[in-house]
């Protein structure tokens, strides 16, 4: 019994937990189509990786390895910035396409493309807001 | 980059720089464009002349640029490269004048002349290249430079011809590319050395060398229009006359033949080719091409198609000469390189004149053209007779040496092939001549097709007529003055004497 307890030290238990979270997040990312859920799945995968890293930091007797912990802190901040940008992109996509879902199939290749180099900033045409006049973000496109 | 090499580079640039300048020239700058073209052509001719004298005196010219570790871009001038260089320099000057006249008021001339000079620079590059890799580089540039000329008119037919042309040449270029890489891997990036540099490999890699030879022949065969790979040539006739002339008399077709000459003589060497039995295969293919070309020419009703098929068979003469691997045969082959160039360009100029001035395309329409355009018809007759091989003219000199070469190597059946093809030549060249002079035309000749030819004293625009007559005179002279030292025959004798230690050279 005590042998088992030694083996289940945090240095091994948490990395295993982290690996399971990584796989769970991967499964969620593949299965779900709603972008917010996919972003959540990515965050859970990230937490899984950080759990593995911090589990590794806690290995061995002495105090935990500060380098690994510093890396995790960096990782968390990177994760939050990536998530924030992704959510801003999702909102933008919803405003353009009317829903926040990316279907698994390949994209339609010949969608009409106009490019920004032809845009001139004469008058700032405010897109008429059908809901209510919150100051729509500058639809310059 | 020794100084002697500088001359070679300037020859190459003498047509490249004007070409690039013309590319950026606006369409209406007619005078500047003509000036650039002519200065380029004249400077190249002068420089090639200087080079000719230099090589005659026997001094060395070499220019090398490191391209890859162990492999350099080498330009070298030996007597064989001079033969092709002089031919292309002379004919480029003539064809430029002709093209200026021919494309008088047509659109997109800057683009045409840009690619035109690019094309000739590639041809001169091929002539002056010192090793197989440089040869391949200019060979592929030639392909890319000629495609826009073939599709110049922009008609769907032209583009289809262009696509076919690219299809053939790019695939063959790829085969050539792989073969050259393989050869360089085996034998190292050697320069062209008379007598070949593959003896050391002969024992160990006999079969590989044979396979490589076949691959190389496929690579060059497409441009030299050997039988199975020739079908792009007649279809490419859709291009304007100067392009057909340039393609068939000077650049593309000759580059293929020149490549075969280089490989057989300067890479494998005559003995090794003989030993490995490569020349017999080449001989058979050349013979088949000669006969097939002549028969197709007979059946072709369109004048330019007929000339195209005659080119297919005439170039095979060169390959035949080289494949004979006897000194006389090689002389016959090489000298035909020049003769065929001159006579074929005359015929194409005449065909161009007929088409441009009177709108004649079919052989049937040539009745009584002799009376309407006597000078052009005279040039056409001289060229055709030269092709058939009448004694005083150039064609006879070639066939005479080829015959002797065949006898020397006692390949009798080749003699019969020559005789038969001579008859076939007569069969497809005489009818147009007879129609031209003796046939009479019932309805009056249409007044000149092109209003810009305008009231000229001659039968057509002077820029179309003078080059034709000049080239016709040249082809006659090469035949008459064959024995003189500086004539093509004399020069080829120098090449064969100095460069090829072929056993039993007795002339």
């Amino acid at each position: 019994m005590s042998g088992l307890v030694e083996t289940l030290a945090p240095g091994l238990l948490y990395p295993t937990g982290g690996a399971i979270l990584f796989a769970l997040g991967l499964y969620g990312l593949i299965r779900r189509h709603h972008l917010v859920l996919r972003i959540l799945a990515l965050n859970i995968m990230g937490s899984g990786v950080f759990m593995v890293l911090l589990g590794i930091a806690a290995r061995g007797e002495g105090p935990p390895d500060p380098v690994a912990q510093a890396l995790t802190l960096t990782g968390i901040v990177v994760a939050v910035s990536a998530t924030a940008f992704a959510l801003a992109l999702v909102v933008r996509l919803a405003r353009l396409t009317g829903n926040a879902i990316i279907l698994p199939g390949p994209p339609d290749d010949d969608a009409p493309v106009d490019d920004i180099s032809r845009l001139e900033h004469h008058a700032h045409t405010e897109a008429p807001e059908h809901i209510e006049p919150t100051a729509r973000s500058g639809e310059r496109r | 980059m020794n100084d002697a090499g500088g001359l070679l580079l300037t020859i190459l640039l003498s047509s490249l720089l004007p070409g690039i300048a013309i590319f950026f020239l606006a369409e209406h700058r007619r005078r500047l464009r003509i000036g650039l073209n002519l200065t380029g052509a004249v400077t190249k001719l002068v420089l090639v002349g200087v080079l000719l004298l230099g090589v005659l005196r026997g001094d060395e010219y070499r220019f090398s640029l490191p391209l890859m570790p162990g492999i350099d871009l080498v330009l070298a001038a030996d007597s064989l490269s001079l033969l092709f260089a002089t031919l292309s320099a002379v004919l480029w000057l003539v064809t430029t004048v002709y093209a200026i006249g021919y494309l008088e008021h047509s659109p997109r001339r800057s683009r045409f002349f840009g690619f035109f000079s690019l094309c000739v620079s590639a041809t001169v590059g091929i002539a002056l290249s010192g090793n197989l890799i440089t040869f391949l580089i200019f060979y592929e540039i030639l392909t890319l430079a000629t495609w826009p000329l073939v599709v110049h008119r922009g008609t769907p037919a032209a583009l289809r011809a262009g696509r076919l042309y690219l299809g053939y040449t790019l695939t063959s270029g790829l085969v050539l590319f792989t073969a050259i890489v393989w050869l360089t891997l085996l034998a190292g990036a050697e320069g062209f050395t008379p007598g070949g540099y593959l003896e050391s490999l002969a024992e160990t890699h006999a079969v590989t060398l044979q396979v490589l030879f076949v691959l190389l022949m496929v690579g060059f065969g497409v441009k030299a229009a050997l039988v199975p790979l020739h079908s792009w040539l007649p279809i490419a006739m859709v291009a304007p006359a100067p392009v057909s002339a340039l393609l068939h008399a000077v650049a593309v077709v000759k580059a293929g033949a020149f490549g075969i000459v280089r490989v057989v003589n300067d890479v494998y060497g005559a003995e090794l080719a003989l030993e490995l039995g490569l020349t017999t295969g080449l001989l058979v293919v050349a013979a088949i091409t000669i006969l097939y070309g002549s028969i197709q020419a007979l059946r072709a009703q369109d004048l330019k198609q007929r000339l195209a098929f005659s080119t297919v068979s005439q170039v095979a003469y060169i390959v035949l000469g080289v494949a004979l691997a006897g000194p006389l045969g090689v002389i016959g082959g090489l000298v035909h390189l020049v003769h065929q160039g001159l006579t074929k360009i005359t015929l194409f100029f005449c065909a161009g004149n007929f088409a441009e001035t009177l709108g004649i395309h079919k052989v049937r329409e040539m009745d009584g053209v002799g009376r309407r355009m006597p000078w052009t018809m005279l040039a056409f007759t001289m060229g055709a007779l030269g092709m058939i091989g009448l004694p005083p003219l150039a064609g006879f000199v070639t066939k005479w040496h080829l015959g002797l070469g065949a006898l020397q190597v006692d390949a009798l059946w080749v003699l019969w092939v020559l005789v038969l093809s001579g008859l076939l030549n007569a069969a497809y060249f005489l009818p147009p001549i007879i129609r031209g002079w003796l046939g009479e035309r019932r309805e009056p000749w249409p007044e000149p097709m092109r209003e810009q030819i305008g009231p000229t004293r001659f039968e057509t625009h002077w820029m179309l007529l003078v080059p034709t007559l000049l080239v016709a005179a040249l082809s006659i002279l090469t035949g008459l003055l064959a024995a003189v030292g500086l004539s093509p025959l004399g020069w080829v004798a120098v090449i064969v004497q100095r460069d090829y230690i072929i056993p039993g050279l007795d002339t």
């Binding site: 307890v5 945090p10 240095g11 091994l12 948490y14 990395p15 937990g17 690996a19 399971i20 769970l24 997040g25 991967l26 499964y27 969620g28 299965r31 779900r32 189509h33 709603h34 917010v36 859920l37 959540l40 965050n43 859970i44 937490s47 593995v52 911090l54 590794i56 930091a57 806690a58 290995r59 105090p63 500060p66 380098v67 690994a68 912990q69 510093a70 802190l73 968390i76 901040v77 990177v78 994760a79 939050v80 910035s81 924030a84 940008f85 992109l89 909102v91 933008r92 919803a94 009317g98 829903n99 900033h121 700032h124 059908h130 809901i131 209510e132 919150t134 100051a135 973000s137 500058g138 | -």
Partner: protein
């Protein structure tokens, strides 16, 4: 004692995996986000268990707090855009012909069709099991702790994590600040900012509490920043706390968005990265290597950089919450 800890670990991990599973499997987005926030808090607990208090602080403040807030505001924006209806103004709903409330439909992701279930499941299981077996084969060696300990005196700070972050691996931390800034630039490039689609909560309760909470938050933030040099704390955690205070302020007055002055905002955002780079370049020129500190000057410089970083991170997080570039940028 060890047994108790193992039981606690197993319970905690089971809880974590369970919450994560429920979060990803839920069809209603709001439920998924709430579960994700609980997952974040449980995660903070796990980091405490792994003796990483700094990371626990960061996870709670950033992972659960800020990310949760971002997710919730995104849901509200999606609800407004897709369903065309705001949750607190039911009367504005245009007659909705398409079956159940579009709002409900907007934030509802139907369970995926079973076709892709098997391949996805097998793939995830394979990846997971390979990872677990690899981790089980790894030696139980201590990491770089002894090396860090040996150089602690030369690092100018007492707390090992701050030493690693701001001295030994300063380059990574600089890039991390840069990434936060880049994420903001990316968000700003997508469009101009719009007000948070919500009406201010009526009644004095929220403004009153905020008047009490915000100063306390600011004091705590500064304390955490200051404590970072000798005990768990530091720029990122402090930045997150101040950012959270900022977001609370923004939420309390969603309509009257204070138009931030263009240049001042830009300077604030760029302060952290700018100062860090300036000290790094000085270090390079003075011969201590890029991002190196002159001897004796490392403690004051680190503190200065940490203050600037906290300011920048707080501003960036609030700007990311608003997720739109200020009008000033669009004036020619």
């Amino acid at each position: 004692m060890n047994l108790l800890l193992v039981v606690f670990d197993l319970a905690l991990l089971a809880g974590l995996i369970g919450v994560a599973w429920r979060c990803l499997a839920s069809t209603d987005l709001f439920r998924a986000v709430v579960l994700f926030i609980t997952f974040g808090l449980l995660l903070a607990l796990a980091w405490v268990r792994l003796e990483a208090p700094d990371i626990a602080l960061a996870e709670a403040a950033i992972g659960a707090g800020i990310t949760g807030a971002l997710l919730l505001v995104t849901l509200e924006r999606l609800r407004v855009i897709i369903a065309g209806r705001r949750s607190d103004r039911p009367d504005t709903v245009p007659p909705d012909p398409s079956g159940p409330g579009a709002a409900l439909q907007a934030l509802h992701d139907p369970p995926p069709e079973p076709r892709t279930r098997l391949p996805a499941l097998t793939f995830a299981l394979v990846v997971g099991s390979l990872l677990v077996t690899t981790l089980w084969h790894q030696p139980d060696a201590a990491g770089l702790e002894p090396v860090v300990d040996a150089h602690m005196d030369a690092s100018g700070v007492d707390h090992p994590i701050t030493a690693v972050l701001l001295n030994f691996r300063a380059y990574d931390t600089f890039l991390e600040l840069a990434i936060v800034l880049v994420a903001l630039l990316g968000a700003w490039s997508l469009g101009r900012h719009d007000r948070i689609p919500a009406r201010p909560a009526p009644g004095p309760i929220l403004p009153g509490t905020l008047r009490l909470l915000v100063p306390v938050a600011v004091v705590t933030g500064v304390y955490v920043l200051w404590a970072g040099s000798h005990q768990p704390g530091g720029a990122f955690q402090a930045g997150a706390i101040l950012g959270a205070a900022g977001i609370l302020l923004v939420l309390s007055r969603p309509r009257r968005m204070p138009p931030p002055p263009g240049t001042l905002l830009r300077l604030g955002l760029g302060a952290g990265v700018g100062l860090f780079l300036a000290s790094g370049v000085y270090g390079l020129l003075a011969g201590h290597g890029f991002l190196g500190y002159p001897p004796g000057w490392d403690y004051p410089l680190i503190i200065l950089i940490e203050v600037a970083a906290t300011l920048s991170i707080a501003l960036t997080l609030v700007a990311l919450f608003i997720a739109g570039r200020p009008e000033g940028d669009d004036r020619p």
